[in-house]
Each structure stands twice: as C-alpha cells, then as structure tokens.
C-alpha cells in the first residue's frame, strides 16, 4: 500500500485541462512545493479551485501569472490585486461562491452526493432562478457538488498509509478537498510510521489519499511573510 512517490511522478499524473483543488486559506495549508512543480511541468488550461488566489507572486498566483489557469473557482481574491485586474481584463475567468457554500459544495462531492439545498443568497445576484425549487414549503436553492480530478494538499504529518494531520489554521479546505478529488496528492515534511499518529486525531483518513510526496525540509516559502509586519 506504498503511496510514496517523487514529486515529479506525482505531479506528472496531472494533464493539461485538469480540474485541481488546492488546499490553503492564504498561506497556511497552501502546498507551495507541489505548486512549484506544477509550474515547472507547465500543464495548461487548468481549472483551479481554491479559497483565494494567494497573494501576488505566491502559491497559485504563480500559475495564474504563467497563464496556466483558465478558470478559478474561489471565494475571495482581495489580497491579490493583480488577479482582480486580470479578471477585469478578461484574462482569467473567476467564479465566486460564498465561502461556506464553496466548502459545502466540495464536501458534498466528497460525501458522494450530488448537491444540497441551501437558503443562502437566494435574493442576490449569485442565484439563478432556475436553481430554486420549492421543497417542503420552502424556497431553496440547489447547490451542485463540485468535483475535481486532483487535489493538492499540504499536511503537517502523514503516515505510511496516508493518514493526515493538519496544523492550526492550515486545516481549512484540505480535508474536504481530500475527500472530493479523484486523485489526492499530499506533500508533508513529516512522514511517519504507522502507529505514530493518534488514531482519533487524524483529520483525513488514508482511504482518500493517492500519492505522498515527502519534503526534506520546508522551503522559505513556508516562513512568515515579512511584509505582513510592515506597517
């Protein structure tokens, strides 16, 4: 059941035109090393699904800058003015969802379901009237599940089988995406033997994991962002 692969092997499974979920809310949870390899290999026409677009020149912003991304499904790109400009210029298609609705759409796919009934945003412009049904006396919107071919995930710890533990605010979308995507590629700096993780503390059971890429160390991309302290 060995899922360990080199980063080249793992990312080479991704073909141009793929839909890829990318974990992370801002930096925490963003799989910077896997993203860099995807940048190096250069697959194009990608649809990315991520909470945000990272900040300028960081994380998936690199893929967008390199014109590898045709569409981004996201909730908020306020920290990346360049992406907002590209959107305004029509250089990238951006689909916005309310954050919890995006999370739930991904989880719904991860649960093997096809959609859910929501009362969020029914009288706003994000709701197409064709998606509204009456159910048990209530007007509700059908929110479709969002699937993906791949998920790229950063985990604080992974064991031999691929059981994952995340840290602090780096949990965010990762457990949901790991459930939802067809192939799940994980990077981790801490690859441990079976039995080293507390079974109750595992966030993502190994059943959902396809490939494990072990990072010798975390590059400086994972360090504090110095400009966040400048003010």
């Amino acid at each position: 059941m060995n899922k360990r692969q080199t980063i080249e092997e793992a990312i080479a499974k991704i073909t141009s035109g793929s839909t890829i979920m990318v974990g992370g809310f801002g930096c925490p949870g963003t799989p910077f090393t896997l993203i860099d390899e995807l940048l190096r290999q250069g697959q194009k026409d990608l649809t990315l699904i991520k909470n945000d677009a990272n900040e300028n020149s960081i994380g998936i912003a690199k893929l967008i800058d390199n014109f590898q991304v045709k569409k981004l499904i996201t909730t908020h790109v306020g920290l990346n003015r360049k992406v907002i400009e590209m959107m305004n210029q029509g250089e990238i298609e951006i689909e916005f969802h309310p954050q919890g609705i995006l999370a739930e759409k991904i989880r719904t796919a991860g649960a093997g379901s096809y959609g859910f009934l929501s009362d969020i945003g029914l009288d706003t412009e994000i709701t197409d009237v064709e998606d509204i049904i009456e159910w048990q006396g209530k007007q509700l919107k059908i929110e479709s599940a969002i699937n993906a071919d791949f998920a790229l995930i950063h985990a604080a710890h992974a064991d031999y089988y691929g059981n994952l533990i995340y840290r602090a605010s780096a949990i965010n979308f990762s457990p949901l995406m790991a459930m939802a995507a067809e192939h799940v590629i994980v990077e981790t700096p801490n690859f441990v033997s079976p039995g080293e993780l507390k079974p109750e503390s595992v966030h993502t059971p190994c059943a959902f994991i396809s490939s494990i890429v072990v990072l010798d160390k975390l590059s400086e991309q994972y360090d504090l962002l110095e400009h966040h302290f400048e003010r």
Binding site: F25, P28, G78, F96, Q99, G100, A103, I120, S169, H228
Partner: protein
Amino acid sequence: MNVNRILKRAAQEIKPGQMINLGIGLPTMLIEHLPDDLDVLIQSENGILGSWKKTDRAHADPFLIDAGGSYVTTRPGSCFFDSSVSFAMIRRGKLDLTLIGAFEVDELGGLANWKIPGRFSPGIGGAMELAQKTKRVVVLCSHNDKHGNSKILRKCQLPLTASACVDRIITDKAVMDVTKKGLLLREISEDISLIELQTVTDAQLMVSKQLKRF
C-alpha cells in the same frame, strides 16, 4: 474618518459570553482594543474559535493566521476546524454577533459589501453567510465615501450581500438601528449637528427620543 470613534463605540457592542465574528478591515482592528480578560470567543471563518490579537514576528506562527491574513494568537480553550464546520457554525446561527464592513447599507437593513461591478470585485468570502445568519449584525463603516457620497442609502445600488440583515450601523458620524419603520438615529457624533447629519445621509433618519452624543 475618525476610525477611533467607530472602534471605541463598536467595542460597546460586545458583551461577555458572546461568540463573535469580525470582518476584514475596521471590525478586525477592534480586537486590539478589547481587554485581555474579556470572556468572549472570536470566530475566524478560516477555522478558529478563540482567535485573538495580532502578534509580532517573534511570536507569530506561519500556519496560524486569521481570516484577514494577520498572524494572530489564540486564547486557551481555542480550537481549529475545517471550513465546512466553520460555516456550519455560522449558518446554524451559533454566532451572537458579526461586526462587518460595508460599501453601502440601506434603511431596509440591506448590505452591499462584495462587488463594485467592473471596478472592484474581491469576492464574497464569508460575508453572505455571516450577514444572513448571525443573530445580530452590526455594520461598521465610514458614513460617506471619499467623494462625500452617503453610504447610508434608502436602497442599496450595488449587488446585495444580503437583504434585511443589518441590525445596527455604526459610522464616524452616527449610530443607527434598522427598524421596521426605517433607520432610527440613536447616537450622533459630537462633531456634527442633526441637520448636517441628515444632509450627508441619503436615507431618511428618525431620531430617537433618547438621542445621545458619542
């Protein structure tokens, strides 16, 4: 805009025992003004209950930011969870209070804070669910934009975040409650007269009998 006046006034909205979400911008700044022993739990929608003040380079953890992107500390009794659980909490109405920013807000309680078509559309983030589902929604914003236009409108012109969701509006010039009859002016800044306030306000203001200065 007198940011400190807004923050000082907004701090009074927070009661011990509450669970609170603070939106990006002004609301997040508020947290730095809260006493360290206040018995509240700050929810940050990126998956923290018990988020607390910003921290410095020496104490920051690169894997721990709040939803606004700042490196924060957490308080004892905090917990971390995934985004689906975070918004389950929000949509189930478990939060007592949301302080949130606005591009526009109207006398029907409508809020617009996510999209200026063709110009600035950063995205919805958590705002739609927070505005629609939190028990009490208080808007913090400047009373007028930089061109002097009123942000307090009879009816929002920008795409709505949520209709009929706002309970109270706190600006640098006024504290207004959304009532069934319209906006009720509760407090007015020391720097402005009632007539001047109505002049710079698009919405029609009813004046409380207990009108106070702040």
